[in-house]
Point group: C2
Chain length 410, copies 2
């Protein structure tokens, strides 16, 4: 059953209010109150159901992401001094402790900044880079700008050997490439482009998107592989068969966003098609929600958490769906948005204590009571709410323009 | 409610039959039929519900384990030529393809033996070593004996740097040690001792057990930590708080077995106490079964699979419990045995297709349809059935001796 346009506009007005209230009255205050480590700098991200810190280690993905989100909100929503000051707390910690001697960013530090886990993957750098770029713009901080640009330059070279000496694959037998790297590369380039005007990122964005389409898309299923080998005949193994719907959905909105920014309209139709196919394949027909992993050929996946429902998979889906609706006006995206939206709030929201749970089992029962941890921080949820508010507004503005045009013409 | 001795003896007679039938009429035939790769050598371990091969990669842990189990059955149960020949299939594959240039054993190979995943941990070597040692005895094969002894010597040195260049921990900040390494060291030493008489392993066994008791046991909770740091005040973090009941239970039976073999009776009482405390802590009061992981302080663990029920956790518990009952005669262990036994067969057994499922969710619903995979092979289940049959027999023999003694004295 699809929904009429007038009803959709009414609903979007309602969602705009709901999402804005969640972002401004719940999510931001929860993290502003519970997360800052004023003593050592940086942020605590391991927060229990009611916001209490239950672990003090600092994971650099989450330090970078929280810095990014605070500075992004300062730059794009409101110049709130508190957000900028909290941004400085994270930026200073990252600048002081985040970088190893080889120039890459650690994975984890102790509360006081002593290194715990080596820089074994690219994501710490990408997230710190996104954070430093937006903070550079917010605070006019040249050091942060230089660091972000250094990451921007280094990452392109690092992509050829993203795991460094920690790579366990035997060279040559089955050379593989993971989808999450071009996704984060795209996300990072779009943020650099916005935060540091004048930096040329369009060519990298275009090249990465063409690479994703040509390399990761399974032509028969219309889904992205989570990893691909050079030889397409060599794909029938655990890694080659793995599909992560969350990454497919995240990738879809990032491509749609890039298509708008770079005016590459030819990317829109395939991204929208992948979005729908990924949802159809990833949606749990029995219990609702989107699976964490699936095997493309329905063999048993090598992941014990494959059937779980994670908050970020659903927030990424919602961003992709409302963006696809804004761009195409096709109600199929809005109907899916409402279905995922209902599931997500019902499953993850926690009105008595605020914020969202992150991890539910297949039935939607909460698996971990945390609001923040080693992987969940101040990032996916506020970014989704912030982005959706903007997209809701765009849709209402389009509608307003259409009405005004009609009025003028009438 | 505890059970009377006469009833226990009747029940053990029943279980002895049930377990022997499961081992000989179901589990062994399932793997003998479906697992051998006669073309390339070695074993397929990724077997679907009905035994069909769904993935052909070869994981060295499982190659070594299957070789071990076949040769162990040949040496200790019956000199079945088929088991020996299938053993040779695995031993030849391991000898030909298993070892990397640095002398360590790969983690994974392709079906034809091309290396896929580097030798990044000790377990491939330990399992191949156990397999080669038992196979050396079964086949009188000198090459296998030499390889097993080389592993025996190398592993002691490797324990100080088990992850080699793949270690992601920053040196010095929080030096930690994992429980699974002394457990496999113990298991391996006991097997070497049995398979290759004359090899001196008792001192290594004693030293490892004293090390486990002094280093991994949490004195307040009576449970083993999954990892420990040098500084006991530095334990309140994800890794330090983690408890894996399955490892505690496995460790308990291995210590009990070592106590019998080395006549170190002082190890029995603490191992039995840890066994009961681990079960009490690990048992799911709501749905039954033993959790995969728990946080010692009930904080959210850093494992999305923490509440799942895995077959091997339950088989290790059952071995520990029946062994503790045999040694102590205390019915608390038998009562627990029956509780875990009922849960395990009801949850994991699959009478229509044979063998056991390996992975269930918290409610005991099957999560993956596989009978074998990347981690589940021909090992825990047949070892458990084989060991329990022997222990059941010991208990019945003890009972018989007691009766005969009573008769003579009467």
């Amino acid at each position: 059953m699809s929904t009429g346009k007038a009803t959709i506009i009414q609903k979007i007005k309602y969602y705009r209010k709901q999402y804005a209230a969640a972002l401004l009255d719940d999510i931001i205050p929860f993290w502003v109150k519970n997360s800052p480590d004023y003593q050592n700098g940086g942020y605590f991200t391991c927060l229990d159901r009611d916001g209490r810190v239950y672990d003090t280690d600092k994971f650099m993905w989450l330090q970078g992401r929280q810095l990014y989100m605070l500075a992004k909100l300062y730059n794009c929503l409101e110049q709130d001094r508190q957000w900028l000051e909290l941004g400085r707390l994270g930026a200073d910690f990252i600048k002081k402790f985040g970088r190893a001697a080889d120039g890459d960013y650690y994975f984890a530090l102790t509360a006081t900044g002593r290194p715990l886990i080596q820089p074994y993957n690219l994501f710490s750098d990408y997230f710190c880079g996104m954070g430093l770029a937006q903070y550079a713009r917010a605070a006019g901080d040249e050091t942060s700008r230089d660091l972000a640009l250094t990451i921007f330059k280094r990452q392109e070279a690092r992509k050829t050997n993203p795991k460094k000496q920690y790579n366990k694959s035997y060279p040559g037998t089955r050379p593989a490439e993971a989808l999450n790297i071009p996704i984060i590369e795209l996300n990072f380039c779009l943020e650099i482009k916005e935060a540091l005007p004048g930096v040329e990122a369009d060519e990298r964005i275009s090249r990465t998107i063409e690479h994703i389409f040509s390399r990761f898309l399974n032509p028969r299923h219309g889904l992205f592989h989570e990893a691909v080998t050079l030889d397409p005949d060599e794909m029938d193994h655990f890694d080659g068969r793995l599909v992560c719907p969350g990454h497919g959905l995240e990738c879809a909105w990032i491509i749609l966003e890039a298509a708008l920014q770079l005016r590459k309209h030819r990317w829109i139709a395939p991204a929208c098609e992948i979005l729908l196919k990924t949802l159809n394949h990833g949606w749990d027909q029995d219990y609702g929600g989107i699976f964490y992993f699936r095997d493309l050929l329905d063999k048993p996946p090598d992941r014990l958490d494959w059937d779980q429902k994670l908050w970020w998979v659903h927030t990424e889906a919602l961003v992709a769906l409302i963006l696809a609706y804004k761009i195409t006006g096709e109600t199929v995206y809005f109907d899916w948005f409402e279905k995922v939206n209902a599931y997500a709030w019902q499953t993850f929201a926690d009105p008595p204590h605020g914020e969202w749970f992150g991890y539910a089992n297949r039935r939607g029962e909460i698996l971990l009571t945390l609001k923040g941890g080693k992987w969940k921080g101040f990032f996916h949820l506020p970014r989704f709410l912030f982005m959706c508010c903007g997209i809701f507004q765009d849709i209402l503005d389009q509608q307003g323009q259409a009405l005004r045009a009609h009025h003028r013409e009438g």
